[in-house]
Subunit: 481 residues, 2 copies
């Protein structure tokens, strides 16, 4: 039997925290003399009321250990319920609930696709709310990826089991302590990002909002022109640094904070990610210099910003890269699949899976050449646990199949091929922009059909929770005792 | 050390056979009083001379067993060399060698993409040559898939090892005997197809050419309008039947011929394939009836023909399905990935891999739900060999990665996103048509850049040889002793 009470209790607690977060935009709106504060206060009261009710009703005196099934159910319900309530303030703004849910899902999953246009004219309360959702979402994702997913053994995440049997690898023994460490590091990155943005000329409000969506590699901006609004090379480089910081594995930060600074560059995933990023920067810079009349430095900046934004699945833009010619379109579409490191705020397939897959492919080829050879698989200095290879490769296969299914469904709803395929791909990867006139970096998701918004919300959720966490709930076996 | 002499000997033999095949179009051209016969005779002499030279030079008195490395090298070289020589008659027709190589590769790999336009005006010799290439290619593929690939353990093909250790499953013990059986069945299917085409109104020439490209699920036609030229429901249904017959596993035919008729419907793959096909027919029929002003029977025929043509990777068309609305485009693109059964002439991922992947996914989910459960994997009544799951899933991952790489490369050559992605996908899957104005069912590959034709030729070869067979040659370890 699945234990429902502890799940409801945790959901209630999280709703109360969400309600508290709604107070911040209310304060901004009061300061701006904007009547929008009433929406936030009302939403906060409603959310707090329901959350509190759940907490009180589901409270149990005895300590309860959550099992694996409860873990899956809680993780998925968490994201669904928080999205449902986070959407309420958008409804107050005049959006339909569909649009509001889409925007909230895109926020909490740190995707960054938006149905809102005319951002520059929106009240500051709602802009802060969008940024807060992504900031909170980012923190939630890291906590989930480091604490919950390894325990659920989803998609090879067991590779990063913080409580490894190997004592020397034990980062910190207890979940709460780990959570505090993650939150601490996240906060430090946020504050550093805000300071740097302010130092290089952003207003404090823009700095806070953009830091919340940069460190979480999420991509909502307060301006329709996205990061291009600032027209500042310095700010763009700051942003590049902090997008990368959000894409690195937080476990490595924890190690570094505990004095193992060498852990950062020694990490196979960090090294692979940085080298990959720089190679793509180089290729795109070369392409831009070869095809456009700009200097190498301008090309490097445009390439570095937009490539980093896509690979880290942030989704800011300074220019519409789909105007850079066929090569850029093809390349950026493929980049939609990559993502950053495990235990970061990025979406996509993630570097460690690609590294493990690469390693497996190599060993498979060696095996084809010499069937009797035994190849030991070592990742980042550790022998690969037995169930990781299959988990990783199965993840890749299901990732592709999921995008295929969503593409067909979106096509059936009238989206043209490029829009359907690129929206499905970017949503599952939590990237933000797609390709084509509608959903490309220059477009908006407001024009796509109602049903497609629900479908894309589902795609974002699936991708965010590493597919298996949600899909496992669809198996009848899950619901049997 | 890789033994080169026996490889050269076999290549020489195959070239001599190819030279003999070139005599047939020469005869037709002589009969038609077309000077094109000289091209075929010259090509045949050159091919026979070089082939004969190889046979004589590489002949060894002692019987030589080919090892695994020789197997990989021979298979890839086979296809490359035969393509290089098969292209010669096209050059005689006035094509550049690039176009000729592309057309020959598309022929021998039974892809069906063409750079030729104005087919209806071409001499019959060259039309027969195109059809012969696909007919010969189809037979070669089946032989390779049944005899060679299981031995090389490529992409899960070991599942269909004809010489299984399980005696009751032993279809026939020796390769030559197996080859004769395959050729016999292939010939029977061809003759049946020709007879049916003639019976329902095709000229004998058209019937022969189309039978050669139907049973091989290849798709070259003798008319620019493809199968739509005939405007005959009866012929279309005949074609549907024989495309399906070419997409079934030939091992099952052999069993049926040996009296185990129940083997056909009892085969998991056959059943899965037929059910899948019929479901897609139903969906597309429903879509056509709902969106267009046609009767159910007309819709069923259009759906059945074009869906079967794409799923079996044949590539004939009676209509341009990209004009059927967004859903059809999205769906057909996804159908580019499927293919028919193992040991058939179809390309794509193939049904058994999808079935094995589905089974693995299910067991993975069960494992996620109850980590201690032991799931036994059984496919078509047999326990799945230990190395099959990983081979299959790795194949899927590399299949996708290959398409990704080709898409980026084609984009860099100036192909727009839809053309690049769809050409890469259809080429790796040996389907035939892509999407978009250039390479869609209504277009031609003649207009794409020269370099892209070479790239697509490579993609067709890779897909045809189940990726690993070619990719393994790129590993430095392959070339070490």
């Amino acid at each position: 039997m699945i234990k429902v009470r502890p799940i409801l209790f945790v959901l209630g607690l999280l709703l109360c925290i969400l309600a508290a977060a709604m107070v911040l935009p209310a304060i901004i709106d009061v300061a701006d003399n904007n009547p929008g504060w009433q929406v936030f206060v009302a939403s906060a009261l409603m959310t707090f009321f329901i959350g509190g009710l759940l907490v009180v009703a589901a409270y149990e005196d005895t300590a309860v250990q959550l099992g694996i099934k409860e873990g899956f159910l809680l993780t998925t319900l968490c994201w669904l319920l928080l999205t449902a309530f986070s959407a309420v303030p958008f409804v107050g703004l005049g959006l339909t609930y569909t649009d509001a849910f889409f925007e909230a899902m895109s926020g909490l999953t740190t995707t960054g696709s938006s149905v809102l246009v005319g951002l520059d004219q929106l009240p500051r309360g709602i802009l802060l709310w969008r940024a807060l959702l992504q900031g909170v979402g980012g923190l939630g994702i890291i906590a989930m990826a480091i604490i919950i997913l390894p325990f659920l053994r989803v998609g090879g995440m067991q590779l990063f089991h913080a409580e490894s049997s190997d004592r020397s690898e034990k980062v910190m023994p207890r979940a709460l302590e780990l959570m505090m460490a993650i939150a601490g590091i996240y906060l430090i990155l946020l504050l550093a990002c805000i300071s740097a943005y302010v130092f290089f000329g952003m207003t404090i409000f823009d700095a806070v909002c953009h830091a919340l969506t940069t460190v979480s590699t999420a991509g909502f901006s307060t301006h329709d022109a996205s990061f291009g609004f600032f027209q500042s090379p310095a700010l763009e480089w700051v942003c590049i640094v902090f997008m990368i910081s959000g894409a690195l594995p937080f476990v490595v930060y924890i190690k570094a904070a505990r004095g193992q600074a060498s852990a950062v560059w020694g990490d196979t995933q960090v090294r692979g990610f940085i080298l990959f990023l720089i190679s793509i920067w180089a290729i795109v810079t070369f392409w831009l210099v070869a095809t456009r009349d700009i200097s190498v430095m301008e090309a490097l900046r445009a390439a570095a910003f937009n490539v980093t934004s896509i690979i880290t699945t942030t989704g800011y833009s300074t220019e519409d890269f789909t105007k850079w010619g066929t090569f850029a379109v093809g390349l950026f579409f493929i980049l939609f699949f990559f993502g950053g490191c495990s235990g970061s705020t990025t979406g996509g397939i993630k570097i460690y899976r690609l590294q493990v897959a690469g390693m497996l492919t190599r060993s498979h080829f060696l095996h084809l050449i010499s069937p009797n050879r035994v190849v030991t698989l070592v990742y980042s200095g550790r022998r690969l646990p037995d169930d990781v290879p299959f988990s990783v490769v199965a993840f890749l296969a299901i990732y592709m199949a999921t995008i295929g299914v969503f593409t067909v469904v979106l096509s059936a709803m009238g989206l043209d091929f490029v829009t359907a395929l690129s929206s499905a791909t970017q949503a599952v990867g939590n990237v933000g922009p797609g390709l084509g006139d509608h959903v490309g970096p220059g477009g908006s998701f407001s024009s796509i059909p109602l049903a497609a918004k629900w479908v894309l919300s589902a795609a974002m959720l699936l991708g965010r929770l590493e597919l298996f966490t949600v899909l496992v709930l669809l198996r009848p076996e899950f619901w049997r005792a």
